[in-house]
Structures are given as structure tokens and as C-alpha cells.
């Protein structure tokens, strides 16, 4: 068996693949954050909580209603999007004229409420979600084993990320969204319902988090805390990529997942902190982030 620095190539490739799966989740989550931040100027601290909620919607709908994986994958983003729109209408919209820091604090409060409620109802221990029958098993690529479900996660998130990028950068709806970012009052004067646009964008952003939650349910344990430390990593990813850029969010998400996977092979103790260290380095040499503009 081939080796690099005394580590079998198959092990390295396996960790890189796991890293790419994590990177897919980072990309989906930081994409949602970037979309919300781009239009609303709000850093959505509740993103991790919505990610957890997305996984719980999938789990509970399976346990109580017998909803299968494929439906759940569509159902949980929908439910969470509606919840997000509701929260935006009830709370977030009161903060647009204030310092953006208040948005961060409010969504932190929302995250505490959501995670606290989940914790009360389902306890701290994780529950497992079965891998759907069609996606069980592995591809044997000869040089490595590739579990089908993990390949599926990477595939779905690449497609979704590209789709969101396409909608925002290449369609008329995306043009309207970007116009709202530039000059909302003017757009409103043209007869566009901007408040509705903002609410739907927030819903869409958190739906991406819920989708990531639904996708991750079969590969991790579903627990109330699954999003609370993840959201901090995603914040670091966003700082590294530069907040304004959609493409930057996707690329840095994937890349950091890979780097994290590689660190697990070379120096496992540092795998939890490598993203934060890279963030510190990027800030020292390129404070605006890799894809950001000052």
C-alpha cells in the first residue's frame, strides 16, 4: 500500500473525503449567513440553532409521522423557512435602523431560546437517524472506499451552492435582491415590496441551514448542541472568506473542511483549532478576508 510520510494514502484520502463532507456543511451554512448578511446586514447567530432544528424536524417527522428521508429533506427547509419569516416579521425587522450589533445579539437570544427548548424536550444525548436505503453501502474506487451517503452530501451541497450563486448573480430575482442591498428605498419607489423580499431572504437563508441539518442527520448524532459550536467555526470561515462574497463563502467553506480533514491526519490534536488559527493568520496578512473588499 502506498504511503506518504508513513501514513497510508487510503487513510489520507478517507480523511480528506470526511473533510470535504464537513466542508459541504460549512459551505451551505456560510452561504446562508452570507445571503442574510448581504441583504439585511445582520449576522445570524441563530444559524446553528436553525441547523439543529432542521435535523430535528427530519428526525421527528420520521419518528412520529413516518415521513421518509426524501420528503424530510424538502420538508425541514420549508418549515424552518416559515419559522424564519415569522421571526423576521416579529422581531428582526425592528432592528434595521440600529447598529448591526443588535441583530447579532438578538439572534444570539433566539439561539439560546431554540437550543434551550430542544434541550428540555429531547435531552442532551444524541439520537441517530437511519441512512436511507437507496444511499446505503459504499463505492469501491480501488484506491479508497467511498460511502455512498457521503458522496451524496457533497453532490447535493455543490448543486445547491451553485444554484444559489446562479439565482443571486444571474437571474432577475437575484438582480432585485442585489438592488435592495444597494438602495432599498429607491427599489421600493419602483414598486418592489422590499419588506417581503427581506423576510423571504431571511427565510431562504435559514432554510439553507435547515437543509444542512437534514443532510447531516444520518452522518452525525442529532442533538440540541450540534449547531452551537459549529456556528462559531462557520463565523471563522466567513471572516476568512470575506462576508460580502457568495462565491467566497462557498470556496472557503469547502477549502477549510479539506484543511481540517488533512490536519486530522497530520496532527489530530490541532484539528479543532486549525480553522481559528488560519483565521488569525488571514486577519494579520489580509484583514478584509481572502475574497472581501475593504
Amino acid at each position: 500500500m502506498a504511503e506518504i510520510f508513513g501514513i497510508p494514502v487510503a487513510v489520507i484520502l478517507g480523511q480528506l473525503m470526511l473533510g470535504l463532507v464537513n466542508g459541504s456543511f460549512y459551505a451551505l451554512l456560510s452561504l446562508g449567513l452570507a445571503v442574510i448578511f448581504g441583504l439585511m446586514g445582520i449576522v445570524n447567530f441563530a444559524h446553528g440553532a436553525f441547523y439543529a432544528l432542521g435535523a430535528f424536524v427530519a428526525l421527528l417527522s420520521l419518528q412520529h409521522l413516518g415521513v421518509n428521508y426524501w420528503f424530510a429533506l424538502a420538508l425541514s427547509p420549508l418549515v424552518i423557512a416559515l419559522l424564519g419569516i415569522l421571526l423576521e416579521r416579529l422581531f428582526l425587522r425592528h432592528l434595521y435602523r440600529l447598529d448591526p450589533l443588535y441583530g447579532l445579539l438578538l439572534t444570539f437570544g433566539i439561539a439560546l431560546v431554540i437550543e434551550g427548548c430542544l434541550h428540555q424536550y429531547f435531552g442532551a444525548s444524541g439520537q441517530s437517524y437511519p441512512v436511507p436505503a437507496a444511499l446505503r453501502g459504499v463505492f469501491d474506487l480501488g484506491f479508497m472506499i467511498l460511502p455512498i451517503y457521503r458522496a451524496w452530501v457533497i453532490l447535493v451541497s455543490v448543486i445547491i451552492c451553485f444554484g444559489v450563486w446562479f439565482i443571486i448573480e444571474r437571474t432577475r430575482l437575484g438582480g432585485t435582491l442585489r438592488a435592495a442591498t444597494e438602495n432599498a428605498p429607491l427599489l421600493q419607489a419602483f414598486g418592489v415590496n422590499v419588506p417581503l423580499l427581506v423576510a423571504v431572504t431571511y427565510g431562504g437563508g435559514v432554510a439553507l441551514a435547515a437543509l444542512a441539518g437534514g443532510l447531516s442527520a444520518p452522518v452525525i448524532l442529532v442533538s440540541p448542541q450540534m449547531g452551537s459550536s459549529l456556528v462559531i467555526v462557520v463565523f471563522a470561515v466567513v471572516v476568512i472568506g470575506g462576508m460580502g462574497s457568495i462565491l467566497g463563502a462557498i470556496i472557503s467553506g469547502m477549502a477549510l473542511g479539506l484543511i481540517e480533514g488533512l490536519t486530522k491526519v497530520i496532527y489530530p490534536e490541532a484539528s479543532n483549532i486549525v480553522v481559528f488559527l488560519i483565521m488569525a493568520l488571514v486577519l494579520i496578512f489580509r484583514p478584509a478576508g481572502l475574497f472581501g473588499r475593504e
Binding site: 449576522v43 445579539l105 437570544g109 437550543e115 434551550g116 463565523f235
Partner: protein
């Protein structure tokens, strides 16, 4: 002004008579430590306008340093506290240099991420006791003279430390340095055009705040006798923000009031409602941000001023 003198007099009398009133001194010490933490945080958020989301790292790192030195190395209280403050000052310097490169939300996210890094160090380093933290921290003696086993004696010492820190922060804010910080908070380009090295001021404010948070953390480790992961985790950073916000950012007494409310809530509410405390804290957070941004003391001061004017 006469009203605030009266208020301070009453608060002082209350603080002095706590052991006589039958209030558990350890609870009051814990409250004072968190009040010190919130006051240190307010120096940054309230008077310099920087929202750090990682202050628990400084509080916790100092608590760990003090606990480790007293348990594993047998240091006495005073030098262990000094070492704790030094630890948080150093970490504050490193985090500060990186974080002050950005403003506003980015600053908040960067401090949060770097604090998470410190959290993982505390989780995985060989001398921090992992998930258990460091337990059984001895209180030691007062400069080798009097053992600090008595809760009442230790309470008065913590009260003295609190007053010292409170006066120090007041002095800093009212000094020319503090005025420049306020100027930077209100209008940074203006401060730059007046020739102030803005980043140097911001860094110094950050390090000062981290050092004072460390003082609170070290004391807390001695008071309760342990340092655990909950001291360094993001929830604690959130709590200190809430204390400051609830009491009133940019007021001197606000953080103390906020800390008193939150610590009391956590202590007594958790007996009644159990795990719902997190939900209630989250709801209070939301309510504060939506309707009560001046905080308790800020609102009262505004009401008082409105009444006094006509």
C-alpha cells in the same frame, strides 16, 4: 447628583451588612465576582464601543491559571491572582492585536472565534483537567498572615477588591485616556483626524478590559474553589454581555445591577424551573435588545433627568 450619593450610601451599607442580614456570603462573593467581570466588560463595550463576544476566555483563562498554580504548585492566593491577571493580560494582548484589525460585527465574530480556540486549549491541554476542570482549589492565606477559610472574612476582601476595581474603572473612564476612548466610540474618523493613534487606544482598552476580567476570574476560582470549562465557553461570554446590557451599557453601576439580577436569577430560578433557565435567559436577551436597549440604570437615569429638567 445628590440622589446618586444617597444610592451609593445605601448600597454601601447593604454590602457591609450582608453577613448580618443572613445572606449566604459565598453567593454574594460569586455575585461580586460576576459584577467585576461585567464592569470590566463594560469598559470595553460601554465606554469604548467594542462588542467582544469572547470575554469568557480571559475570565476563564485567569481562573484556570490561578487554580493550577494553587493546586499543582502550591502558590498562595495573592501571587496566584497576580499570575492569573498576567495570563489574561497576555492573552488579551494577542487576541486584541488580531481583533482590532476589524470593526463592529467582524470584531465580535473574531473575538468569538479566538475565544473558542482558547476553549479548545482548555479542553485538551494536559494540565487543565479536561472535562472535569480543576477542582478543590484552596483559598490560601492573606499574604501568609491569616488563613482565608472564613467566608465572612473572605467576603470583605472580595468586596474590597470589587470597590478597588470599580474605582479604578471610574478613574480610567474619567481620565484623558477615557475621554479619547469615548471620542473614538462616537466618531472614529474625527478622532483619527485629530491625530490620535486610534488603534493603540483601542488595543489598550481591550487589554485593560481583559486584565480586569482576569482579576474577576481569578477571584471567582478562589471563591468557588474550581475552574471549569463553563468559565471559558461562549455561553459565559453571552452572559456577561447580557449583564452589561440589562443593567445599562456605558453607566457605571449598570453592570453591577445586571450581574446581580442574572446571578440571582440563575441561582434561584434554576431550583424552580430547572433547565428552562437557558430559555428564560435567551428571552430576556431578546427583550433587552428589542425594547430595553438603555438598560435598567440607563433608563432610570433618563427618567430622572426628564423629571428634573422642568
Amino acid at each position: 447628583m445628590r440622589l446618586s450619593s444617597l444610592f451609593y450610601l445605601l448600597a454601601g451599607l447593604f454590602a457591609l451588612s450582608v453577613p448580618l442580614l443572613g445572606i449566604y456570603p459565598v453567593f454574594m462573593m460569586q455575585l461580586l465576582c460576576f459584577a467585576m467581570f461585567a464592569c470590566a466588560y463594560n469598559l470595553l463595550l460601554g465606554f469604548s464601543g467594542m462588542l467582544s463576544f469572547g470575554h469568557a476566555a480571559f475570565f476563564g483563562a485567569a481562573a484556570y491559571a490561578t487554580s493550577w498554580l494553587t493546586t499543582a504548585r502550591g502558590w498562595d492566593a495573592a501571587p496566584a491572582i497576580m499570575a492569573g491577571i498576567l495570563t489574561s493580560t497576555l492573552i488579551g494582548g494577542i487576541v486584541g492585536v488580531i481583533a482590532i484589525r476589524r470593526r463592529g460585527i467582524y470584531f465580535a465574530m473574531i473575538t468569538l472565534a479566538l475565544a473558542q480556540l482558547i476553549y479548545f486549549v482548555c479542553l485538551e491541554a494536559p494540565f487543565t483537567g479536561g472535562e472535569n476542570g480543576l477542582q478543590g482549589v484552596p483559598r490560601g492565606t492573606l499574604f501568609g498572615l491569616v488563613p482565608l477559610r472564613s467566608d465572612v472574612l473572605f467576603y470583605y476582601l472580595v468586596l474590597a477588591a470589587f470597590l478597588l476595581q470599580y474605582a479604578f474603572i471610574q478613574r480610567v473612564v474619567q481620565s484623558p485616556f477615557g475621554q479619547v476612548l469615548k471620542a473614538i466610540r462616537e466618531n472614529e474618523p474625527r478622532a483619527i483626524s485629530l491625530g490620535y493613534e486610534v488603534n493603540r487606544y483601542r488595543l489598550l482598552a481591550f487589554v485593560l478590559s481583559a486584565a480586569l476580567a482576569g482579576f474577576a476570574g481569578s477571584l471567582k476560582a478562589l471563591v468557588l474553589g474550581f475552574a471549569t470549562l463553563s468559565d471559558v465557553q461562549q455561553a459565559s461570554s453571552g452572559e456577561v454581555i447580557l449583564m452589561t446590557l440589562l443593567g445599562g451599557t456605558g453607566t457605571f453601576f449598570g453592570p453591577v445591577a445586571g450581574a446581580a439580577i442574572i446571578v440571582t436569577l440563575q441561582q434561584y430560578l434554576s431550583e424552580i424551573v430547572g433547565g428552562w433557565v437557558t430559555v428564560i435567559i435567551g428571552a430576556v436577551f431578546m427583550a433587552c435588545v428589542l425594547t430595553f436597549r438603555r438598560g435598567l440604570v440607563g433608563t432610570m437615569a433618563a427618567l430622572w433627568r426628564r423629571k428634573a429638567v422642568p
